[in-house]
Amino acid sequence: MRAAALESRAVGRLRRQVRAPLITGALIIGLSLVLAALPGWFAPYDPLAFDYAALLQPPSLAHPFGTDNFGRDILSRVIWGYRLDMQIAFFGTVFPILFGCLIGALVGYYGGWPDVVFGRVVDAVITFPFLVLVIAIVAVLGPGLINMYIAVGVVGWVFYARLLRAEIRIQKQQDYASAGKVMGYGDARIILRHLLPNAITPVLVFWMTDMALVILLGSSLGYLGLGAQPPAAEWGVLIADGKNFMSTAWWISIFPGLAIVLTGLGFSLIGDGIADLLRPQR
């Protein structure tokens, strides 16, 4: 009995250790989502309103994050930025993950010539640096968020498909997959109910990381003028706004930068937490 109690205490401690990053990440992202949902409640000022009486103000009680060269409140702009950048994190990953998982599961399960074609497509996409490819596509389609989603979707699915394909191939070799077949289950049931739950973990972990990456990408494109367009309060646009004032008004760029870092950290922590939580039980 005592040994069992000790063991369960040890397991409890392990659980808590495992969950700490997950909880931290969930708090950060939860808060971000609240800000994204209701920026008007939290932002003290209109993010687009000019105030010529308060140009380039350093952080103060009235403007905790300072103001920019048009007197816009940086805190308000960062908070409104949550709305845009969380949208980017979601729409920038949801199409790649759906399409990528569909393709990955199918080629992983059935193999054959589609798998060979898929391999070549992956090679082709991976040969290009991701950012360059996305910029090239956005340059063709024209700047803007919708076109950015399209560009990311065209390129990004490959990474999800590759991950899931590999995992499905491993899982389908397992006896339980054969057992499912012998029990007369059809392919769709075996893929969706048996293989996918066992194969999806790395995809979920990558998804979290990818949301952080897509926010960075969105900000990069925003910075370059290819993503969200000024005067929209998007963090990359905000950083770009402040680049000419870095030596005199650092707060314009630093605070949106911190928001990016914090949100990226939140997603990464959740990713780590999920990975630990879903690791196959021993």
């Binding site: 397992q174 006896d175 057992a179 289950y185």
Partner: protein, 335 residues
């Protein structure tokens, strides 16, 4: 031949079953034209060394062979050919009429689904039971395979069971649809001896209670002796000898069986040196002409290399593919 006198109807009739794989070294026949029949309610043992094709043969029966594997021949299950039937019909037979259990209970259960979900899924797929009936049946099944406090363990995941219990769970899942044929692929190899004994007894008990036929693949002659009614000895993808267990163990009529039996440590009073079979099994890509066992055989003569020996009747219900089955019969395996 002998089957004609047989009063028990055949459940499964295997004719010329061949499973081949195209490899870089040429076509490899993992199962090489085996003929075998399984009677209703019988436990048939399929024994052989690793790589003798016994598992592939078993999996071929339900066409569970991955590309580039090719299955040929016939396997008549209640008159229908499992090898030739369309995939859609096979889905009906699999699980419903024929179930299979595997060697590694760790990997043969889906780690992310509870036992209840896995039993329920099979019940849902193959019986018309309603939700409440399925829940009741799931408990019955766990009870049947001897899992203590079945109702409480239903919501456990596979990793929460011990090895032997996991094997019982797997059997419970396989039996959910009340199959008429159970294919058991080394079901006790991963278990320790006492658990092995329990599982084998369980299989026999279930066979009696549910009237199933069983094909039991194993490399363990002890398991065969304890469990099977008849046994087929496989070597290099071929059936070497087939007969009733007692008869075959007492009077082996194939040099390979003779060698196998001689290599088992006996528990008898007189201690004798173990006689092992020299050499290793041949590469399937490069089989010797004639009898596949000839290069390792103690009885070998030129006649053995002249062509593949056919299975011939050597006794009641006993067939051997040995050229020298008479000489083998006169030799004491323990000598």
């Amino acid at each position: 031949m002998t089957a004609a006198r047989d009063p028990v109807p055949l459940a499964l009739e295997i004719r010329g079953l061949t499973t081949s794989f195209a490899t870089a070294e040429g076509v490899v026949r993992a199962v090489d034209g085996i003929d075998l029949e399984l009677r209703t309610g019988e436990v048939l043992g399929l024994v052989g060394e690793s790589g003798s094709g016994k598992s592939v043969a078993l999996r071929s029966l339900v066409r569970l062979v991955r590309a580039p594997g090719r299955i040929e021949g016939q396997a008549l299950w209640l008159g229908r050919d499992l090898i030739a039937m369309p995939e859609a019909d096979l889905l009906e037979v699999r699980g419903k009429e024929i179930a299979m259990i595997f060697q590694e209970p760790m990997t043969a259960l889906n780690p992310v689904l509870t036992v209840r979900q896995q039993i329920d899924e099979n019940l849902k797929a193959h019986t018309g039971l309603g939700r409440a009936e399925r829940a009741r049946r799931a408990i019955e099944l766990l009870d049947l395979v001897g899992i203590p406090s079945a109702a409480e363990r239903l919501n456990d995941y596979p990793h929460q069971f011990s090895g032997g219990m996991r094997q019982r769970v797997m059997i419970a899942i396989a039996l959910a649809s009340e199959p008429r044929l159970l294919l058991a692929d080394e079901p006790t190899t991963a278990l320790d001896v006492t658990i092995q004994d329990q599982i084998l007894k369980l299989l026999l008990e279930l066979r009696d209670r549910l009237g199933m036929s069983v094909i039991l693949v194993t490399h363990d002659l002890g398991v065969v002796a304890q469990t099977c009614d008849r046994v087929a000895v496989m070597y290099a993808g071929r059936i070497m000898e087939v007969g009733p267990v007692v008869e075959l163990f007492r009077n082996p009529r194939h040099a390979y069986t003779w060698g196998l039996l001689g290599s088992i440590p006996g528990a008898g009073a007189v201690r004798q040196p173990l006689r092992s079979i020299e050499g290793t099994p041949p590469s399937l890509a490069d089989l010797p002409p004639g009898c596949a066992f000839a290069p390792r055989c103690a009885f070998v003569t030129d006649a053995c290399r002249q062509g593949r020996p056919a299975l011939v009747a050597v006794g009641p219900d006993h067939r051997s593919a040995c050229v020298h089955h008479d000489r083998v019969a006169r030799s004491d395996p323990a000598a």
